[in-house]
């Protein structure tokens, strides 16, 4: 009896733990299945109908590869990738720089008009993006920025969300840290550059990731701004494939879609910890 009591207790199998695991796994299937399915459609024996064939596992590696080759070579997909990547990277860099500078001020200093300015920016979080789409488009057109990278990127840089998030975060930078730097002789900009920025790394990474997801998936803005094929983004090229009149079969359509999903998926796999924790911290603090 003694020896039994001394054994380290194994996690016992109770009805509750069975239910817990079953539920968790079922939901995991629901969450991941659609993407798995898309993957399987791409990597399936050619000519097999998708209908009547649930595609639970990939059946042909080579046809997937040839689908991918086809999409990459026969269309402007690669160029669109390049545009999308540039668009995304520039947007991320711009958003981080511009909103961190503003957040630095809003979070850590007092100056006349601060509350009003901040309130206005925050109010903008509630304005539906569609309400500004058309006037913004007209402005960009008037500036002659259609079909240009700056036309694609600049309007997305003043991210109220990013400002909000970074401000929240920077508020937690200890005032003493800045004072120490002031005593060390740092100028205003040096405070930002040497202290505030490095200390906000987590928040910056989170914002970068969120911006990535939003920019990569952005559909409507590129649609109106980049009208020339050499400025098409991935979302536009994919929508060509998705269009009812496109001359393509399901596997090719799904290939185009899958390729569009690859960067975010890879990004997620690499950074999942930070993404999830970053979002968590913004949400639970906001």
């Amino acid at each position: 009896m003694m020896s039994i009591a001394l054994l380290p207790r194994m996690s016992r199998i109770t009805p509750w733990s069975v239910a817990k695991w079953t539920l968790a796994i079922c939901i995991a299937i629901v969450a991941a299945f659609p993407i798995w399915w898309m993957f399987n459609v791409v990597f399936a024996d050619p000519g097999q109908p998708v209908s009547l064939n649930p595609r639970l596992y990939p059946t042909s590696f080579s046809s997937g590869i040839s689908n991918i080759q086809r999409v990459l070579t026969e269309t402007g997909y690669l160029r669109a990738y390049y545009v999308s990547v540039a668009y995304t990277i520039l947007t991320i860099a711009g958003v981080l720089l511009v909103s961190s500078m503003a957040a630095f001020e809003f979070a850590l200093f007092d100056f006349p008009g601060k509350r009003i300015l901040f309130a206005v920016v925050m109010l903008s979080l509630m304005v539906p993006m569609a309400a500004t789409l058309i006037p913004t488009y007209l402005l960009v057109a008037r500036l002659g920025w259609l079909n240009t990278m700056q036309g694609l990127v600049l309007p997305g840089l003043a991210s109220a969300f990013g400002l909000f998030m970074l401000t929240q975060f920077m508020k937690s930078i200890p005032r003493e840290m800045l004072e120490a730097a002031r005593l060390d002789g740092a100028s205003h900009f040096q405070l930002y550059w040497h202290v505030a920025l490095p200390l906000s790394r987590t928040a910056l990474v989170t914002l970068a990731i969120l911006t990535f997801m939003k920019t990569w998936g952005n559909f409507i803005w590129p649609l109106v701004v980049s009208q020339k094929p050499e400025m098409f983004t991935v979302s536009q090229v994919v929508s060509l494939f998705n269009s009812p009149l496109s001359h393509t079969t399901v596997d090719v359509v799904m290939t185009a879609n899958l390729l569009a999903a690859v960067p975010p998926l890879i990004f997620f796999l690499i950074f999942q910890r930070r993404i999830v924790e970053g979002i968590a911290s913004t949400g639970s603090k906001g």
């Binding site: 050619p46 000519g47 109908p49 209908s51 008037r142 259609l146 109106v224 929508s239 009149l245 496109s246």
Partner: protein
């Protein structure tokens, strides 16, 4: 000079793109100072881009679109009046084109908004494997709707589907309706603010849609799923335009599909349904409209259009090109041609006035409520026509 040339996305893929690109190259050989970029777009993007482009003065220079959207584009100021350029062209150029279509582009005297370009007529693709499996002889023509429905029943009996859900898009509704109606009984009479749709004929078409419901896949003819079903021998019939053919052709080459095409069955023997439409090529009212016009005229010209038709079997509005013996033998072109003979126009009249935005949704919602069983076809059709008149009047 740089010209942006926008086309439907299927024109900017595969073989069609090669051909378009060679037109461009040839044109550039004659006019070395121009750069021409072709870009393909979905129907929706095409319209949005043109309108947005017109609003901001940055749209494409040369573009195609459906004649059915002409009036909107005219309103948007996206189309240049090319009457003078047209008249400046030599007589032999002008007489290549189908005169009816030229009229269509010219709603008023001395006004001409476009050059007729390509076109289509709708017909019915048949999956022969399914038919054979259902014990239907593909060589026997489908006499009428009753015969058609009888075939559907047989197909249903072997657990396959006969048709896509034809009540979902105006295009397929029009295809059904055209089986009873005459070309003049579709569209809007803008002078009297009345729809031209005949209530009893609409009711008959609606009845057909109701009858077809049990045999349908539930997907619309535009859905990729529909084509997938057809290619995987689950679906027997698709009514559609020639643009669907390339993927079927591809599948047939791979040996996965055996199919043919026939005219859309009509309500009675001898009557056939079908919708036809045309695309035009237009020029934006911008500085380089001059060279744009030349380019538009070039691609619409006989030698280009005959190559187009020969290679793709696609219909166009250049009568001389279609008459070219090398072309007329193309089977796809032949069926399109046949279909076009008794088909109704897609959204007539063109370039006159834009359709009220609610028009199509009233029609489709009404059909939907009949098919869902909320109304009888007769009641529903009468109500639809009434409502359509209201919508037109309100506009």
């Amino acid at each position: 000079q740089e010209l942006d040339y926008w086309v439907y996305s299927d024109f900017a893929q595969g073989e069609a793109l090669e051909l378009q690109q060679s037109f461009i190259d040839e044109f550039k050989a004659e006019h070395p100072e121009v750069e021409i970029t072709i870009s393909g777009r979905g129907d929706d993007d095409l319209l949005t881009g043109q309108i947005a482009g017109a609003a901001s003065g940055t749209g494409p220079d040369v573009f195609m679109n459906s004649t059915s959207l002409g009036a909107i584009l005219v309103e948007a100021g996206a189309l240049k009046n090319i009457y003078e350029d047209w008249m400046a062209m030599p007589e032999e150029f002008r007489k290549q084109f189908n005169p009816d279509l030229i009229d269509m582009c010219s709603p008023e005297p001395e006004v001409m908004y476009c050059l007729p370009y390509t076109g289509y007529g709708s017909f019915m693709y048949r999956n022969l494997a399914v038919l054979k499996e259902a014990g239907i002889d593909p060589d026997a023509p489908i006499r009428d709707w009753e015969d058609w429905k009888a075939q559907m029943e047989k197909i249903e009996a072997i657990g396959k589907k006969a048709v896509p859900d034809m009540s979902q898009t105006w295009f397929s509704v029009a295809n059904a309706y055209s089986g009873v109606a005459e070309p003049g009984e579709w569209g809007i009479d803008f002078e009297n603010d009345k729809t031209l749709i005949e209530p009893d004929k609409l009711a008959a078409a609606a009845q057909l849609l109701v009858d077809m419901k049990p045999y349908s896949t539930g997907t619309s003819e535009d859905d990729q799923a529909t084509k997938d079903l057809f290619m995987s021998n689950e679906l027997a019939f698709i009514v559609g335009g020639p643009w669907i053919n390339p993927i079927f052709e591809q599948a047939a080459e791979n040996g996965d599909l055996e199919y043919d095409w026939v005219l859309v069955p009509g309500a009675e023997e001898g009557k056939h349904g079908g919708v036809k439409g045309f695309e035009f090529i237009g020029v934006a009212p911008k500085e380089n409209a001059g060279i744009s016009w030349l380019f538009a005229a070039y691609v619409a010209e006989k030698s280009q259009m005959s190559r187009w038709a020969a290679a793709l079997g696609r219909y166009n509005s250049n009568d001389e090109a279609l008459a070219d013996p090398e072309v007329s033998g193309h089977p796809l072109l032949k069926i399109t041609n046949d279909a076009a003979k008794n088909a109704i126009f897609n959204r007539p009249p063109f370039f006159v006035e834009a359709y009220p935005a609610d028009y199509w949704s009233v029609l489709l919602d009404g059909i939907a409520s009949i098919v869902e069983g909320d109304e009888t076809p007769d009641e529903g059709a009468a109500r639809i026509v009434e409502e359509l008149d209201e919508v037109i009047a309100y506009n």
